[in-house]
């Protein structure tokens, strides 16, 4: 792919080790980056990907091992030094100044080193416009706070592009991007690679790796497992290498024809919110897992939050098992048995500094308390232990703070919190975001088991393979309306993307 004349690697790492206290984050990792290649790094959470990247960027210092940049041994001591050496890093978390213009954010490091006392805003904005022009339609003069998350992510990438780097590290850059924006980014990555820039690409999404990268290196438990040419391996092989065992079923079996039921759990009619969505009508049947697809901002989350009155001024009718619902506040919704699992686990899903048991009890502390409102700590602990073992939660004990758990286990705590009230309907918003492959498969199995047990399940996901793999039926939302429904063989990424971006009317016309 590269076609570059020089064949020696731009970056060669041998036997890298790093410990944090008793935890060995890296145990002798080898990594080789060729000129002009797009090199994916795959591994579960905690495999050592971030530690490796942070060492390359000078945030952490290695305990042992060697690093050759352009054939010369280097010891990178700070991100500023990494920048000087031509290493750019786009972090997963957005780190922009919200109250400053896009252009100033993009050239933050330049303004930092300039000798001029005055800011030349016109030039800054013109230059920023040139870079942004390749990425998407963003006005360089507006404040960053007014941009959507995906636009902010693009600004982060633009910022790295100004640095004239030889090595560009992208850490899950598509997590917040829409499909179209992601495709634009892949185009830019290929263009950069053809100019000889080497790209390290970190992602959980196998499809992205296999469509866009040249080679893939797999890490597991801080150890180097293998590097393969993408053309010579398969997603299954990579996933197996990541988890150290064969994952035979990433997705559990779907509902069989004889298991289908006509019983309706949730019946939504003409649900409308002032600005966010209109005329939403659908039915959730017993036993099925229903998916909600759509681009970010289409109104998927807003619809389910509207049903349980978490936000928005909603009109329309919702029936649960045939009974019309009167919900004024999310607390009422919980009492009725309709709960919502937030897409932002850390921001509004969990109490990170509190114990697992307290988190699990949060939806209804009254359940583990006497009639006088005095909490019975034994019942609280027992509840968390019971649900924890049902979900295969891995923790030392339920008194541990949630912040000590891995992403997948945190998500299980969030799910246990939902299950503590014996819900009738669960809305799950991005239930496997930031969760490693093993836990992902487990969460999918849990959802299927719940559906079999008669709980209504609605899943929102931006990962189309997940929706297609998990759901029996998918509703596609576009600009606040349902633009179509797919099930069975019709459930393909192409069909869903078509409905999400173009809509049903024209789909019928064509």
């Amino acid at each position: 792919m590269s076609g570059h004349a020089e064949n020696d690697p731009i970056l060669k790492i041998t036997g890298l080790t790093k410990s944090f206290g008793p935890v060995k984050a890296l145990r002798g990792v080898d990594f080789e980056l060729r000129r002009g290649e797009i090199h994916a790094i795959a591994g579960e959470n905690g495999a050592g990907k971030s530690t490796l990247m942070n060492i390359i960027d000078g945030i952490h210092r290695p305990d042992g091992g060697s690093m050759l940049l352009d054939g010369k041994p280097v010891s990178i001591t700070s991100p500023a030094m990494a920048q000087q050496l031509g290493i750019g890093f786009v972090h997963q978390e957005i780190a922009l100044c919200p109250d400053v213009s896009v252009a100033e954010n993009i050239f933050m490091s330049v303004t930092n080193t300039t000798r001029s006392l005055l800011m030349d805003y016109a030039t800054l904005e013109r230059k920023a416009g040139e870079i942004l022009g390749q990425l998407g339609d963003i006005d360089p003069s507006v404040l960053v706070r007014t941009l959507s998350i995906s636009q902010q992510q693009l600004v982060e990438i633009a910022k790295a592009l100004t640095l004239d780097c030889r090595v560009l590290i992208l850490d899950e850059p598509t997590a917040a991007l829409t499909e179209r924006e992601a495709q634009i980014l892949f185009g830019i990555m290929r263009k950069l690679a053809s100019q000889g820039i080497s790209i390290i690409y970190i992602s959980h999404r196998m499809v992205e790796i296999f469509q866009n990268c040249d080679r893939v290196t797999v890490l597991r438990d801080g150890q180097y497992i293998a590097t393969k040419n993408v053309a010579e391996t398969t997603p299954g092989e990579v996933v197996s290498a990541m988890v150290g065992r064969v994952i035979d079923n990433l997705y559990p079996a779907k509902l069989g024809d004889n298991e289908r039921s006509d019983e309706i759990i949730l019946d939504v009619r003409n649900l409308t919110e002032r600005t966010r969505f209109r005329d939403i009508s659908f039915q959730l049947r017993k036993g099925e897992i229903l998916g909600l697809a759509g681009l970010i901002g289409a109104g998927r989350s807003e619809i389910v939050k509207g049903i349980c009155r978490l936000e928005g001024e909603v009109t329309g009718e919702v029936r649960l098992h045939g009974q019309p619902l009167q919900i004024a506040h999310y607390g009422d919704s919980i009492s009725e048995g309709i709960v919502y699992l937030s897409e932002d686990r850390k921001g509004d899903g969990l109490f990170l500094d509190m114990s697992i048991a307290s988190n699990v009890a949060a939806l209804s502390v009254e359940q583990v308390a006497s009639r006088l409102g005095i909490i019975d700590e034994q019942r609280e602990t027992a509840q968390a232990e019971l649900l924890g073992s049902r979900l295969n939660l891995k923790c030392a004990h339920v008194g541990q703070p949630v912040s000590a758990l891995s992403g997948g286990n945190q998500q299980k705590v969030a799910i246990a919190k939902m299950l503590s009230v014996n819900p009738k309907v669960i809305f799950l918003d991005e239930p496997t975001r930031g969760v490693d492959v093993g836990a992902k498969a487990e969460i999918h199995r849990i959802l299927r088991d719940l559906a079999r047990g008669g709980v209504g399940i609605i899943v929102i996901s931006s990962e189309l393979p997940e929706l297609i793999g998990v759901c029996d039926r998918v509703l596609v939302v576009r600009e606040g309306r349902i633009s179509g429904e797919v099930s069975g063989d019709e459930m393909t990424e192409d069909r869903i993307m078509y409905l999400a971006s173009i809509g049903e009317e024209r789909a019928l016309a064509s």
Binding site: F20, G21, P22, V23, G46, D221, L310, H329, Y330, G331, S333, I334, Y340, S342, G347, D348, G349, L350, F351, L352, D353, M354, S355, S358, A361, A362, L363, S364, V365, E366, A369, G373, I374, I375, E377, E385, G388, S389, N392, L393, K394, C395, A396, H397, V398, G399, Q400, P401, S403, A404, L405, S406, K417
Partner: protein
């Protein structure tokens, strides 16, 4: 509970025993405070012959007991994520309102009830501005601090009200003893024990922790977070009212300038005792130990004839030290 860890579980050494560590740290904070207080006691008993006398101990206890009631309210408010700068002037206002009513012929008990109700209403007003209007606790309580002080001075013309005719059974609250133990201290212990239990064990106060720990996650758990913050704000002012009445009974007068700078002492005590200004953590027991520590330090410095100005400097330094240690402990924990 290792039973939850299944055989397939990947051992994550970072998490094993972490809770034990956290528990130890928590224990360290309270045992640490107790040890410091004990060390001060031992050092002072050598430094000053008066320190370990019954009269001095009693005076010290009386000094922190009433303020301790306000510390309880402040700690709960801090846990919910709020703060109240008006505690000193609201306490003084309770005295002034009850004093004025008494001087105008109202029964002292009824006058006290009205004063406490008025303080509660002030708290509810602050709660309204914070939860309904959406202003910050700091600004709202800063304004109320000044307004309440102004009301005190307006009502009294700036002079203390002598309440020489207060009936002895009323003065008993502030001056009397049951056996050898002053009533003030009994009230204080009751308030502390009751609220410590409520805070640790009841559903209502658990919601205070949820709200302070992560307000958005609390709202997404169906908790009415605005109601919680409204209640903790109101409770803090109500407890200021109670403290004000006890002070009035103790002094036999109502002092419009009482409690200036009290908010700093009270917040410092709660924070030294482990309450976080960002909400979600704190204990009554810790906060009371913080109160005792500050009070013992003040008393010791006075006995050692240290200038009042130095006392302020030392108290401030203790606060800074405690918060710095806390910051590092939290960092290690996180």
């Amino acid at each position: 509970m290792t039973s939850i860890a299944t055989p397939s579980a990947k051992v994550r050494p970072a998490s094993v025993g972490l809770m034990g560590g956290v528990k130890q740290l928590l224990r360290m904070r309270e045992t640490g405070l107790i040890l410091i207080i004990l060390a001060l006691f031992i050092a002072m008993s050598f430094a000053s012959p008066y320190f370990l006398t019954w009269n001095n101990l009693r005076a010290m206890a009386m000094a922190f007991a009433v303020e301790g009631i306000v510390v309880v309210g402040m700690t709960i408010l801090l846990i919910s994520g709020g703060i109240d700068l008006s505690v000193g002037s609201v306490t003084a206002l309770a005295m002034v309102i009850a004093g004025l009513l008494f001087l105008n012929g109202v029964d002292p008990w009824i006058a006290s009830g009205i004063a406490i109700a008025a303080c509660t209403a002030i708290g509810a007003g602050m709660g309204f501005f914070v939860t309904r209007v959406g202003l910050h606790h700091f600004i709202v309580s800063l304004a109320v601090m000044v307004i309440a002080r102004g009301l005190c001075l307006l009502g009294t013309g700036g002079r203390p009200l002598g309440l020489y005719t207060l009936p002895p059974e009323f003065k008993f609250i502030g001056q009397g003893s049951i056996g050898v133990i002053p009533v003030v201290i009994i009230i204080f212990v009751v308030v502390v024990v009751v609220f410590d239990f409520l805070l640790r064990r009841t559903t209502i106060f658990r919601k205070v922790f949820y709200t302070g720990s992560n307000e958005k996650a609390a709202a997404y758990s169906g908790i009415r977070t605005k109601k919680v913050v409204f209640l903790t704000t109101t409770l803090c002012s109500a407890l200021c009212g109670v403290a004000g009445i006890i002070y009035m009974a103790r002094f036999g007068s109502a002092q419009p300038t009482f409690g200036i700078g009290m908010e700093l002492n009270v917040i410092a005590a709660a924070v030294i005792g482990g309450a976080s200004l960002s909400g979600g953590s704190g204990t009554i027991f810790g906060a009371i130990l913080g109160t005792i520590l500050l009070s013992v330090v003040s008393s010791s410095l006075a006995l050692l004839d240290v200038s009042v100005y130095w006392q302020d400097i030392i108290r401030g330094s203790i606060l800074l030290t405690a918060v710095t240690i806390d910051h590092y402990l939290n960092k290690r924990r996180g």
